[in-house]
């Protein structure tokens, strides 16, 4: 073997044969979450900066209702996905599928709630993205979050299909955990959006 001969460093310490580095999936997802956070920060800043500046048309206080139930559904999906991960580590595939499926159901309910809210805003209050400044900032921030929920749900559903067809094995645990990181991010961004749009902004 003509590689560098010394596996010892100069002090004579043997370099740990189990050279372990962080998982690239986790580091990559962490970096993606930082980038996504930067995007959300700009939309949140645009929202906060423009609170109360909309000069005509419907105002948040007149048309927005607190989506409490919806928030509970989405945030509890962070809990169910943790339970699913634990089941996967214990190799309890049936339990995993149940918790994972429940996570998806909660996400879908959240999206349906948003759809209902938008439907009311558009048909009853006549507020669209082009109506006024409030409409522009509201639909783009909540819509940006909802589009992240949709992307997350597509990936969660893909995993569920793999699990149901038996293609998902315990050795994929880490990949599932990396996906769960994304889902936690989507959930906790909602806390920010909820606070800004429905609490401060109203």
């Amino acid at each position: 073997m003509s590689t560098i001969p010394m596996i010892r460093d100069v002090h004579g310490h043997v370099i740990d044969p189990e050279w372990k580095l962080p998982s690239r999936g986790r580091v990559g997802m962490f970096a993606l979450i930082v980038a996504e956070s930067a995007i959300f920060v700009i939309f949140v800043v645009a929202y906060v900066y423009n609170i109360g500046r909309s000069t005509y048309g419907p105002q948040p206080r007149q048309v927005l209702e607190l989506p409490i139930l919806n928030t509970i559904f989405l945030l509890s999906s962070s809990f169910t996905i943790v339970m699913a991960e634990r089941a996967l580590v214990k190799r309890a595939m049936a339990t995993f599928k149940a918790w994972w499926g429940l996570t998806i159901v909660l996400g879908v309910i959240f999206l349906l709630g948003t759809a209902q809210e938008w439907n009311k805003l558009i048909t009853v209050d006549h507020l669209t993205i082009s109506t006024n400044l409030f409409g522009t900032t509201f639909y783009s921030l909540v819509g940006l979050h909802a589009s992240h929920v949709i992307v997350g749900l597509i990936m969660l559903t893909t995993v569920l299909i793999f699990a149901l067809t038996g293609a998902l094995k315990p050795e994929h645990t880490e990949k599932v955990e990396v996906l769960a990181m994304y889902w936690h991010f989507v959930d906790w961004v909602w806390v920010v959006v909820f606070t800004v749009v429905y609490v401060i902004g109203r």
Binding site: T3, I4, A38, N132
Partner: protein, 577 residues
């Protein structure tokens, strides 16, 4: 220096499969490049793509300079002039500088870390093609931008695209849409490649390479990538808002509906200033590798270099509004951005002193690569000093939007970043192609470029001080700017000749250059342990390192580098004691 006689780790030069064996018809070769996920091929494609757009953006610059050669000139119309400087700026930043630094990183980071590829090779390919499509989208506006003005409406809103000029009412047709979409698309590519660099540096290092044994180039690419994900993302968000305004009738930047044109300027410069550091970090990285090798000394003050780079990264995120003093902020706001901008000078000064200290007492070899680096040192220092001058708010109010500002940032980007990149091209060309670039042509390239650069950009400061504003398409004869503008234009032409020599040198040396061997510069980092060009997957056997200069240790087994202190080691390396 002839190729060294040291054994190559893993015996790669002998066992690696070379590209020549894998070649088929030209269609198969083309196909292999299009579908590749190999970091080396992608790196080469990034650089070639950037050099192509360097020529395009350079031609646009020359058109600008011809137009400004005479007062009251009508070489191009005012509309065309606006398009030229918009396209020149956008092209040079997003489709020349960014792909150049990404290309260098793609090629070098895995090799320097002793890794076989980036952390996510397919994401890497995706990122490249996103960047490439971004450039095509921008230039398609020349033929596809059919709006109210007919065919060929390239963007004309300036590379900063201030609102409300970009509103539908003031920017008819689709030219601004091409601009926004092109930057959204290439922005996703930039974010993808930045995530890849971070994951590669943290997760793909070879055995024994703790974070503080990592060469400085990957270190600076980590800082650069952090800036990309924190700075390019806001730009992408702002472009999405602009697109919502233009396509969906939104009101983000519509002042009549209560929106704010000012907030666009903030969002743009929150991206725009860190972007300078995104580009200059890789330039620093090249300096950190080239100067030690040609001074025959290890880099001076490695931990200080890392700390200074990270500090510059953090500080650069809080200086953006120094582009906006004339917009009228509070005096506390102004004072904050004056001071934060001046603060950047401290870590940057540390770096400059460290490079000088590296050269001090060294046995300097003035190869073309080294010449470009020495040019960088002086020019980047001057660029930094005019930057400090411009950070003084009362003074800035006088010079805002003048040619002084143009001269300053071209000093940074051409005199600093492009010089470093050219040095990097001369340094790593033998590794990439297996052949040396011609040194005689290299000297011509360097000296013509230096002369052209100083004739052009030193003189350009003066019309700025005399009051010539940026972005004007012509000026009256009695302003007293004529001679100065003519000198600047001559300097631009000389730089054009220098770049033509570089292109000729690259083509000529690819075909007929002297064979380089694995290690023509007697260097110390892992990329020089492989054959030139490196085989697919780089290392047949994963290297093991125990210092910052593994190849030095190999060449000098009786005089190895000082070991890096254990206190600086990183997870996973816990030696039994």
């Amino acid at each position: 220096m002839a190729g060294s006689s040291i054994p190559v780790p893993g015996g790669l030069g002998a066992t690696g499969v070379t590209d020549a064996e894998a070649e088929g018809t030209w269609l198969e070769v083309l196909h292999s490049w299009v579908v590749t996920a190999d970091h080396k091929k992608l790196g080469i494609m990034y650089v070639l793509y950037a050099l192509f757009f360097l020529a395009v953006g350079g031609i646009e610059a020359l058109i600008i300079r011809i137009q400004l050669f005479f007062p009251d000139n009508h070489f191009v119309s005012a509309e065309t002039f606006n398009r030229m400087f918009t396209m020149h700026g956008t092209t040079m930043i997003f489709f020349v500088a960014m792909p150049l630094v990404f290309g260098f990183g793609n090629y070098l980071v895995p090799l320097m870390l002793g890794a076989r590829d980036m952390a996510f090779p397919r994401l890497n390919a995706f990122s490249f093609w996103m960047s490439a499509f971004g450039g095509l989208l921008l230039y398609y506006s020349f033929i596809g931008g059919v709006g109210l003005q007919g065919a060929g409406s390239a963007p004309d809103v300036g590379w900063w695209a201030y609102s409300p000029l970009t509103a539908r009412a003031f920017s008819r047709g689709h030219s601004t849409d091409y601009w926004a979409l092109s930057l959204i698309v290439s922005g996703f590519g930039s974010i993808g490649v930045a995530i890849n660099f971070i994951a590669t540096a943290f997760c793909m290092r070879c055995k024994g390479m703790t974070l503080f044994r990592m060469p400085l180039l990957p270190w600076l690419y980590v800082v650069m990538s952090g800036l990309v994900i924190l700075a390019v993302s806001p730009l992408t968000a702002a472009q999405v808002m602009l697109t919502i305004d233009r396509y969906l009738g939104g009101h983000f930047f519509d002042t009549q509906a209560g929106g704010s044109a000012l907030i666009w300027a903030h969002f743009f410069w929150i991206f725009g200033h860190p972007e300078v550091y995104v580009l200059v970090m890789p330039a620093f990285a090249i300096m950190n590798e080239v100067i030690p090798v040609f001074s025959r000394k290890a880099i001076f003050g490695y931990p200080a270099m890392v700390a200074a780079s990270v500090a510059i990264g953090f500080v650069s995120l809080g200086v953006w509004a120094h582009h906006m003093f004339t917009i009228g902020m509070t005096s506390i706001g102004n004072a904050f951005f004056v001071l934060s901008t001046m603060l950047v000078g401290i870590p940057t000064g540390i770096k400059i002193f460290n490079w000088i200290a590296t050269m001090w007492g060294g046995k300097i070899r003035y190869t073309t690569a080294m010449l470009f680096c020495v040019g960088f040192l002086l020019q980047f220092l001057i660029a930094g000093l005019t930057g400090i001058i411009l950070s003084v708010e009362p003074f800035n109010l006088q010079l805002h939007n003048s040619y002084f500002v143009i001269a300053h940032f071209h000093y940074v980007i051409v005199g600093g970043i492009l010089f470093a990149i050219f040095g990097g091209i001369y340094y790593w060309f033998p590794k990439v192609t297996g052949r040396m670039l011609d040194e005689r042509l290299g000297k011509w390239n360097f000296w013509l470029f230096v002369i052209g650069f100083h004739v052009c950009f030193d003189v350009m400061h003066v019309p700025g001080v005399l009051g010539m504003p940026r972005s004007i398409y012509t000026y009256e004869a009695d302003r007293g700017w004529t001679t100065l503008n003519q000198i600047v234009s001559v300097g631009a032409a000389i730089q054009g000749i220098a770049i033509a020599i570089l292109v000729y040198n690259i083509i000529h040396s690819c075909l007929k250059g002297a064979v380089a061997g694995p290690d023509p510069w007697d260097a110390w980092t892992l990329e020089w342990t492989t054959s030139s060009p490196p085989p697919p997957y780089n290392f047949a056997i994963e290297p093991v390192v125990r210092s910052r200069r593994p190849l030095w240790d190999l060449k000098h087994p009786n005089d190895p580098d000082e070991p890096v202190e254990e206190g600086m080691s990183y997870s996973g390396r816990m030696p039994p004691s």
